[in-house]
């Protein structure tokens, strides 16, 4: 199938791109990697009057480490770079660990960080990772810029807090405290497919091995990333024994996620996966946090 006709602009600067979006609003769409937008246009699920191609904006493709230890990533950083860049892997090993689960190498060569976040697919990995790591997003429009916490950015199925004239321009990742462990696991029918369910964990231990902070965030378990806060509450203040880990993942699986089911998995099966994968991801994250203390 072929896309319906549209106009195409390849602005040479961020300002020019924002001006086009301010003028055309929802009638215009940014074209980043095109790896979600073009299939949707080929199916005619999406029709745009104007595509504003961001691929010429080299100044949105950067990885910078700030003096305070935060990492700043431009929206046009390709997913392949997220997978392979040693500065990203050193700062946030969770990203390096998760990227091979995102589509296929040929798609990651085009797909971008900003595009994946703005697309807000509940089954996508990067939104979940951003929430788990406590990232902040910078948006820009002709009216100025603003910052949004990853948690507040995702507003349901394919929906975000972005206004029609805004572009997502930067992702800022905090430096994780000492004795923090991270992990990601998912279950998919085939390599590179969207997962039936997945979960990321970020946990921090104190010197005595007691859990101080925990985040457990699920994909394909609701209409966006599902941050299981009650499960995190069960972990906080406890040593991560098998019983505590089981209680937390059972809580998330039974009471916090809201899986929608699909042709490959019933909601009951997704809840089963959430419980098993939750256990696995927590064990791994706590092991990693513990081995850092030594």
């Amino acid at each position: 199938m072929k896309p319906a006709p549209f106009d195409y602009a390849a602005p040479a600067s961020l300002e020019a791109a924002l001006a086009l979006k301010a003028k055309h609003g929802d009638d215009a769409k940014f074209l980043a990697g095109g790896q979600s937008l073009i299939p949707a246009m080929n199916f005619r699920l999406v029709q745009a009057h104007l595509l504003v191609d961001l691929n010429g904006l080299a100044d949105l493709d950067y990885v910078r480490r700030a003096d305070d230890g935060r990492l700043r990533l431009g929206a046009m950083v390709r997913q392949r770079r997220l997978e392979r860049d040693s500065a990203i892997a050193g700062h946030s090993p969770l990203i390096h660990e998760t990227m091979p689960f995102v589509a296929h190498p040929q798609i990651r060569n085009r797909g971008t960080l900003g595009g994946c976040l703005a697309h807000a697919d509940p089954a996508a990995e990067l939104p979940v990772i951003a929430v788990a790591l406590g990232a902040r997003f910078k948006t820009q429009s002709t009216r100025g810029e603003r910052w949004i916490a990853a948690e507040d950015f995702f507003r349901g199925m394919f929906n975000t807090d972005l206004t029609p004239e805004e572009m997502l321009v930067e992702v800022e990742l905090p430096r994780l405290p000492p004795r923090t462990g991270t992990a990601f696991v998912e279950f998919a029918r085939r390599r590179g497919d969207y997962a039936l369910l997945g979960v990321a964990a970020v946990v921090t231990l104190d010197e005595k091995g007691v859990c101080q902070q925990a985040r457990l965030v699920y994909l394909n378990a609701g209409d966006g990333p599902v941050n299981a806060k009650e499960a995190a509450g069960i972990l906080r203040g406890e040593k991560p024994s098998a019983a505590v880990i089981e209680a937390a993942s059972a809580k998330a699986a039974q009471a916090e996620i809201a899986p929608l089911g699909n042709v490959h998995a019933s909601p009951e099966y997704q809840r089963h996966l959430a419980r098993v994968l939750g256990r696995r991801v927590l064990r791994q994250a706590f092991d990693r946090a513990g081995s850092q203390g030594k």
């Binding site: 072929k2 006709p5 074209l31 790896q35 073009i38 080929n42 798609i107």
Partner: protein, 155 residues
């Protein structure tokens, strides 16, 4: 309409294209390079894989206008001449790495840069490398054998 200029397999082209023309259709219908196949047009099958500035991408998920100023490579550029195949093509032939051949161009274009980066790949690495390419005929085993053979030949 947009005027674009690009190189494909080292040869320069200038064409006028509609914005909505997919790169896969541009290669096949405008340039007559029909070695690049089209299976699904939504990124799943990998038949349309080509090199864009040296990196494998889906040509069905890129517009022709986006190739302006870029350098592409397609399966037509692999063989040195009519009589001399690329060692990877030769290995596919010898090890029965294809049956109907529909998936082959996309798999070759995925594997050329892969073998440059990994001259001595393990079986797992090979399977991972072609995980984004569907083949409905071979069951993949002969493809894996062909890649191992190609790696030997290219040493």
């Amino acid at each position: 309409m947009h005027d674009i200029s690009l190189t494909v397999n080292g040869q320069s082209y200038e064409r006028r294209v509609e914005s909505r023309l997919l790169l896969s259709d541009f290669l096949r219908h405008e340039l007559g390079l029909s070695g690049t196949h089209v299976g699904c047009e939504h990124g799943v099958c990998g038949a349309c894989t080509i090199l864009f500035d040296g990196q494998p991408i889906r040509s069905c998920l890129t517009f022709a206008v986006q190739a302006n100023g870029h350098s592409l490579a397609t399966v037509e550029g692999l063989a040195k001449s009519q009589s001399e195949l690329h060692p990877l093509q030769e290995a596919f032939w010898e090890a029965h790495g294809l049956q109907c051949g529909f998936c082959t161009a996309g798999i070759l274009m995925t594997l050329v840069p892969f073998l440059q980066e990994n001259p001595d790949p393990s079986e797992n690495e090979i399977r991972e490398a072609i995980s984004g390419n569907l083949c409905r005929c071979t069951g993949y085993q002969h493809i894996v054998d062909a890649v191992k053979l190609a790696a030997e030949k290219m040493k």
